[in-house]
Symmetry: C2
Subunit: 355 residues, 2 copies
């Protein structure tokens, strides 16, 4: 009688090979994997009966399950976890692909918003899952420059440029008519006073403004708007989330009933969970890919999906996230390799900005 050799501790080489085979077969076919199928398609060198014994061990160890008696095995979340951590390495992108992606990033002509879109699109295309990307957001926004453009005599556009080149814009109604020249003077005054400061620092200067009667009220009005803008920017953990390839996820057979799909989308729509994950992922440091598998994600809505995420940017200064979202039945080595490459690429771009 075959004995369960261990329930904890490392599995022997053969058990790992079989677990790997089950997972890769299941990822490819989306149907439970039988012992028969394994001996047919993988060079395991043993009979299906032996494979069955090993499968029983893996199941006892919690790495596989059964939908029912006469079905093959499917991996559990723990199975995928073991697979990702112990069995396989990230699979680097083929050099041709890397070159192609670099080329595409070169094409977008430094329009920074486009980078995030392209990152999401690239991740989606390479992994056949959904690609995600957030801009690298500094902890506390630093003002680089403001500009005020007259729209008409009662309305002006306030443009705020942050240190890394991010732009925020606001329309400001003018209490009394003012032409472009006046507005230009206000902008010059503010640029001379508040540039390179954070919201808090600007507010402190504003105190001095109050005392100084020579500063026109218009400047004060604009300065207040600038502070408001910066504060709002600072408050959002994830300022924006670019995603692409949600259609890929919709195509997965595990999401044939749209109810499951809806739950996943609802998590993405409110973003709270991603915001929660950001510090966790950021803590790992640039280039380090984190994988969150199925029920490892606390929100029940994410029970059927996995996230493969990596931070990019400058620790302490500005951090963003790129990654993919797909069914737990995901080609992890490829996903991890792709996310690693793209996060590296985004790192280079950020370095370029801060150089």
């Amino acid at each position: 009688m075959p004995r369960i050799r261990r329930t904890t501790g490392p599995l022997d080489h053969r058990a790992q090979a079989i677990l790997r085979a089950v997972i890769e077969e299941y990822v490819a076919t989306a149907t439970p994997v039988s012992s028969q199928a394994l001996v047919e398609r993988y060079r395991l060198g043993v009979s299906s009966a032996t494979v069955r014994n090993v499968l029983a061990e893996l199941e006892a160890a919690g790495l596989l399950t059964h939908p029912h008696t006469s079905a093959g095995r499917i991996p559990t979340d723990a199975g995928y976890r073991f697979y990702v951590e112990t069995i396989v390495e990230a699979m680097p992108l083929p050099p041709v692909e890397e070159l192609m992606i670099r080329h595409q990033f070169g094409q977008v002509e430094y329009a920074s918003e486009q980078w995030f879109r392209l990152a999401a699109t690239t991740l989606a295309a390479m992994t056949r899952a959904a690609g995600l990307a957030t801009p690298a957001k500094p902890r506390a926004a630093q003002l680089r420059r403001i500009d005020i453009v007259s729209i008409h005599d009662r309305l002006a556009s306030l443009i705020v440029v942050l240190r890394e080149g991010t732009i925020k814009q606001l329309l400001v109604a003018l209490p009394e008519p003012a032409d472009q020249e006046t507005l230009g003077l206000v902008a010059d005054l503010l640029n001379a006073t508040v540039v390179d400061l954070t919201a808090d620092q600007i507010e402190r200067r504003l105190g001095r403004f109050e005392a100084n009667e020579r500063v026109p009220s218009l400047a004060r009005r604009f300065a207040e708007r600038v502070v408001g803008l910066l504060r709002e920017y600072d408050a959002a953990v994830i300022e924006e989330l670019f995603s692409d390839g949600l259609l890929n996820v919709m195509a997965a057979p595990e999401f044939a009933e749209s109810a499951k799909l809806r739950r996943v989308f609802s998590v993405l729509e409110n973003r709270a969970y991603l915001a929660e994950l950001l510090p966790v992922v950021a803590a790992a440091g640039p280039g380090h890919v984190r994988v969150f598998i199925g029920r490892e994600n606390p929100p029940a809505e994410m029970a059927d999906v996995s996230l493969v995420l990596a931070p990019y940017g400058r620790p302490g200064q500005a951090i963003g996230i790129v990654g993919v979202l797909g069914p737990t039945r995901m080609a992890y080595p490829q996903a991890i390799g792709t996310v690693r490459f793209v996060s590296g690429l985004m790192n280079e771009l950020v370095d370029h900005l801060y150089a």
Copy 2:
């Protein structure tokens, strides 16, 4: 034997009342409507047998169908069309709702991008379908002002403000190091030369630049980028599409199998169809709501959904679209009323910009 009274021409009052009842019942319940259910829930003043005769007529006229013999009736696309055009009026929003929405728009402090988001969100919330909004885009962008901000000595952020306050940004690598002061001079030079022009007009001036040796090469470089930006902006029919409430659509029972859902999303993702629709909707003029029902939409992917769209903006100057996308089984009077109101609101906002 009940005779089919007519296959074309207006239906009599009773037939219209019954068609209306069928549609409203079906919109509410999403299940085929039986003659029994109609006499129970609507004061038709006739028996179910009479209703059945009328239902048969309506079916012969192509306004209703049968999924199968022993099922109730469901409206056809033509049925909805007749309902929308002849039977019902748009249902205006309750004044309380209007007030609430106006209040929300007041809250967003004139950050124009937020308006489109809010428009989409409002439409989604009021109609329980997906809300759509595109910015009002002028036919040919007119430059209002440019600004150049140094990021570091080899990199600058080029900011282009268009006539209506729209902002475009691009990072420009500098051939040789330049400080903010130099960049400011370049910006001043360009602002003095090319402001209030379109891409074509700027290009003509550029010709003169070439001849004039005193214009520094840096200015020429930036001017070229500005032209490129404007051209790109002009080329896109729909520059951006804001949507919200896609989850509402996913929740509809007709999209229980995610395959249908996927087809719809794929149309939204590539936007080609919406771009095609834009001139059609715009032709109707501001305030005029257009309805596209199911298979009236040429793309096969849209067979199960309807679009309720209205243009806003200034004809000839800048046109955008707002609207909703939902299952053909949609509460059209409410949707049309809501879209009409929101497009009116967006009109006011645009007027404010161009005042």
